[in-house]
Symmetry: C2
Subunit: 236 residues, 2 copies
DNA sequence: GCGGCTCTCCCCATAAATGGGGAGGGAATA
DNA sequence: TATTCCCTCCCCATTTATGGGGAGAGCCGC
């Protein structure tokens, strides 16, 4: 493993908040001598936050207009596991072109690639490397450093999850029947169907749902199922 | 990067099916000189498949009894982003102890760690390294090779997704309002409450739920919410 | 400019889920 | 042994969700 990565990871160890993470991102940018680095955590609920080296004006603009909802980079990463080269994306739509134009005007380089990062419970983030150079030297750069950057993105996300406190408190333990009930409901069965599948009366099934809902602190069945799913207590 | 990883990645390039992937896993096991390696993809439908070096009898037993639903390793990985050392898990429950006993009886080593791998659309897999050794030498091994194995897991999953074709079936795209609706329902609101929050009529909200349900192929609201959650289209 | 999609609103009737009771037997645990 | 869960069953009435219609306005891409 290269010395560069080690340096970055060392700097990362001190990061206990967004400022620390940002510092680590800046340090990493200098290590690799690229224009910009971005760790961008996107929640589907619309919230987002980032540790990055972009111009604050651009960030403010991006945030205010919720540009992540039309950003081809974010959208592509959301459906992928493998890195995305910006050049290979579809920038033909009107809002995408506008986005690109504003980005370049704000000091972004012409080259970029982004790594999708998927976490538990639907957590999603993008790690982006941006630079200004010719296609050839850019290809050389990505070829030489992709693995290190992959690892760096992993560790930065690890740190980010720690800071964000994504790891929730301890999960309540569901009884087997409760798990069965919620699993079937999550799979689309109605209460009657689920009861039939489990060969118990619908009344009994209701008791399981109720107690599971109580344990999970859900206000209704859908809430309880969503909670159980997000906590990994059941899986589809 | 070490030669070991390069060897593995080279072998991986030829893998176009499960057999090829399994061959690569065997090759990697020999490279690192450990007892067992496992790539275990747990599909959201409950189906699962794996490329591994375990005893087929044990695999058959595991599969038949759906042991992944009680396997502390799988359950822990599902909620985490960081590697999981088996020794740190809670094996106190009866089924977990039984699982562990059977596993050891089937030739698994006493040491193991597993890497969670989260992909798009709620895809989830576990990459496990298993070995039989003392705590100290095991710690040395993990310290020395964690990064390489992290990368190897990444590339194996990349290959697995390619073979499975998971990456190509993109999620149905929900409209912003549909996302809002499902998010609020997942958070426990009733339709009336959600409509009030969004400042639209409940009738309108229903239309969003309906169309989202249709896009997601859900039989009812709970199913649709569970699907959206599992695919990462919404998050709690 | 047209077609497609999104967003918004409304009607009807029926099916389903919810809330809150009670009760007995069995298994595991402390 | 006593206690604490878990599993199973049933009653009531009420609220809520569902299924299947229709309709107009606005935005965007081709």
């Amino acid at each position: 493993m290269g010395r560069k990565l080690d340096d970055v990871l060392e700097g990362l160890g001190d990061a206990t908040d967004l400022a620390g993470l940002t510092a680590a991102v800046y340090e990493m940018r200098d290590c690799y001598d690229v224009e910009h680095l971005v760790y961008h955590s996107v929640k589907s609920s619309g919230d987002q936050w980032a540790a990055l080296t972009y111009d604050p004006t651009w960030v403010e603009d991006y945030t205010r207009n919720n540009l992540q909802t039309i950003d081809p980079v974010v959208l592509a990463c959301f459906n992928r596991f493998t890195p995305v080269d910006w050049k290979r994306l579809d920038w033909s739509s009107r809002p995408a072109r506008a986005l690109l134009g504003e980005a370049v005007a704000s000091g972004l380089g012409n080259q970029g690639f982004s790594l999708p990062i998927h976490g538990p419970s639907g957590h999603f983030a993008v790690f982006t490397v941006n630079h200004c150079s010719g296609d050839e030297s850019w290809a050389r750069f990505t070829g030489a450093h992709l693995n290190e950057i992959l690892l760096a993105a992993h560790y930065i996300n690890e740190r980010a999850l720690l800071i964000e406190g994504v790891g929730r408190g301890p999960n309540p333990s569901l009884s087997p029947r409760e798990t069965d009930a919620l699993t079937l409901l999550a799979a689309g069965r109605s209460r009657a169907q689920a009861a039939e599948t489990l060969r118990i009366s619908e009344h009994t099934l209701r008791v399981y749902i109720e107690s599971a809902r109580f344990k999970l602190g859900g206000t209704n069945t859908t809430h309880a199922v969503a909670n159980a799913l997000a906590r990994g207590l059941i899986c589809l």
